[in-house]
Symmetry: C2
Subunit: 430 residues, 2 copies
């Protein structure tokens, strides 16, 4: 067996401690699969004294993480600091420029600086690997980049954020409102004190931008992702979804259309026949549609110390074995110039819920607006009667262009008989 792969880890939070623990617990097995031992020789973290539930005895401490990049005794840098910029970015760039391979779980960094990182890798010959950045323990980057490499991908659709999926699952199962479940999730550590990155869809968008680049062989284009979060999903709409045969999930969707690549993150109605409808709690799942393989589903834990460490160490094993793949599956010169299409060009079916005054003529006004925008209806639901009171009216459209839907929505919101901002949720095919 050749000499060990010497690793320096920057960032010793939950994931960093998990990586240390995994490399110790499964050391023999990992050495056999890597063809050589993988040994952590140095660490860098702000807090030396915090109890991480694991001994750090024998590890060299480095105060400035950048020093790991320059240290000739370190073969690979593992970046677990996080954040698209700041010390994480500085460390990764220093390591790559020094020709040193990097393993990272940092989705923000890859999503926001993917293009320049790929160029840096090619200049220096260094590798960057980031399996842990998307869907945690599910090896979906390897699957798309290598396992399905012979395929032309038509779409990648997934549940990428465990916090959002946990909240939506509990809202559905317990018929609770968003705010109540969020507060409870925060109390139990399933949601951050500041949950906006998760619940506003940004985390999902980071992951989607990365997967879309690999799936479609193009540069990472985070700026083009249309992003909506789950704050406005209501218990009422979840109940209507149920009645119509759907579950509401926060999806990340990347799809090749005639106009270009559509990338969007938003709550969506998912038919019960879809495997994504049954992914509950903190789990993640990804469905890839590709030619000639057809639909492939991957599901598992998308976050947490164990699953994330599993992905980080898998990347280290690849590096130890010398298994080589360009950052996005192909060299940057072979990336295709497949442009992103704006959300206004999206075509799909829509669920629209209006709170209206229950009085004669309201439905006629509403449907006239839709007609004027060329929007045809598949179904309408209005339960019960409360003359003069506010009642919900649900409209499900046939395939419609988003820009028309938006224009109609503005007009509907302006009607006197429409009492609140309309709720609009896109319906995805099975």
């Amino acid at each position: 067996m050749t000499r060990p792969l010497a690793v320096g880890i920057a960032g010793l939070g939950t994931v960093g401690a998990g990586v240390l623990r995994l490399l110790r617990d499964n050391a023999a097995l990992i050495a056999a699969r890597a063809g050589r031992p993988i040994e952590v020789v140095a660490v860098s973290a702000r807090d030396h004294s915090r109890d991480r539930g694991i001994t750090l005895h024998g590890l060299r401490w480095v105060d400035d993480p950048i020093a790991l990049a320059r240290d000739p005794a370190i073969n690979v840098v593992v970046e677990l600091i996080g954040g698209a910029n700041g010390p994480a970015r500085a460390l990764v760039e220093s390591a790559l420029d020094a020709g040193k391979p990097v393993v990272t779980a940092n989705k923000a960094l890859i999503a926001e600086h993917g293009a320049t990182l790929a160029a840096r890798c090619e200049r220096s010959g260094a590798k960057i690997r980031f399996e842990a950045a998307v869907a945690g323990g599910i090896p979906v980057i390897k699957a798309l980049r290598e396992g399905l490499a012979a395929n032309r991908v038509a779409s990648v659709t997934g549940i990428f954020n465990g916090t959002c999926n946990y909240i939506l699952s509990r809202m559905q199962q317990e018929k609770l409102d968003f705010a109540a479940v969020l507060a409870d999730a925060q109390a139990h550590g399933y949601a951050e004190a500041d949950p906006s990155f998760d619940i506003d869809g940004v985390d999902t968008a980071h992951k989607l931008a990365i997967l879309a680049a690999i799936a479609f062989g193009r540069q990472v284009d985070f700026a083009a992702v249309h992003v909506e979060g789950i704050r406005r999903v209501s218990a009422l709409d979840i109940a209507f979804a149920e009645e119509l045969g759907y579950r509401i999930k926060l999806l990340g969707i990347a799809r090749a259309t005639e106009a270009g690549i559509e990338t969007r993150v938003h709550p969506a109605m998912v038919p019960l026949a879809s495997p994504l409808a049954h992914v509950d709690g903190v789990n993640n799942a990804v469905v890839a549609e590709a030619d000639p393989v057809g639909a492939i589903v991957f599901a598992g834990r998308g976050a947490g110390a164990g699953p994330t460490a599993s992905a980080v160490v898998a990347d280290l094993i690849d590096l130890a074995r010398g298994r080589d793949t360009p950052m996005l599956g192909v060299v940057t010169a072979s990336l295709e110039n497949r442009k992103s299409v704006p959300m206004g060009a999206h075509r799909g079916a829509y669920f629209l819920r209006l709170m209206v005054v229950d009085q004669p003529g309201v439905i006629a006004d509403v449907t006239a607006v839709l007609r004027d925008h060329g929007i045809s209806l598949e179904s309408m639901l209005q339960h019960g009667r409360s003359p003069g009171e506010a009642v919900p009216v649900v409209l499900v459209t046939h395939i419609t262009r988003e820009s028309e839907m938006r224009a109609a929505l503005d007009q509907l919101a302006a009607l006197d008989s429409v009492l609140e901002a309309p709720a609009l949720i896109r319906i995805e095919p099975a």
Copy 2:
């Protein structure tokens, strides 16, 4: 871009033609991902004139497939002849001995000769890759061998045979008997004229033996797999399964127990909460339980020209990129000596259906036999009454040792009041 990877294909059935078509249809994309073009330069098949729906113009025909192994103009041999021995084995062994890499979809060959093939590869330095041998288009070998390489696997459970799953799905959905669905499946090309390899579980056992070797880092041990097929699954038992909250699936299960590795293929009751319960038709699915990643699910098309070609070409791309992995994930010297345990040592819950004469004392006789073998009951079902007639009695046991269950079954079958061979179906946890 470097010079093309020159491929010789032996066997031009559905899959061989699919590989040719895929390499042509997605040539540019495959070249970018492989870092070089992949070109078929020679083929070998018995029938030169059959219409395969694809032009073979420009390809060199070789009558003796062994010649592909020795041809210096060929970089990689793709073996799609099939069969554990005969020309397929001779070709693969010749190629490996000549140091030439092989890609194959041949599960029988890998399952029955895995140990000697691994040794051959190490002697000559040649590679053998066989993603297409298990679960068709689902990249499950790559996922287990590389993506989950940091994990200690506890179990791998899957639906690996599309024909059996199609038959069981239709029996369940349409309440039909096995024979009727099999005949219909044969008429529509979903089952072979001689379906025994599929429906007797042999195909599933081949695939399971391969996955178990990779998951547990040991030699392939096909002989140790306990194999039962689906011929004796009845519409009656499927209906009882439904009543009890289960689906009946033909599973391949490899599990690490304290006594060693259990590998078994048999119809099983799968709880509706398990993702495997909802895999219908010709689809395949695999659930891996591993530490620290947890449960990971993979699902997709397990057979057919497109999915199989996807896996074959993914292997070619890995070879073109020089991505290197020992055949079973670790070198043979690092394989662990984890012995297989006999089926008699299995411990699990059982569904037992007896056809008994409906008369006083029968249940007392039956339960006395179970008591004498230390088998305790979780539940019993007997619907309706037909005094003096044959009626089904269903017994669900708590966790029981297989050897005790078998001994009890022999005694039950010998009771005068038990009218047919008892039906025994193992129950798997969720």
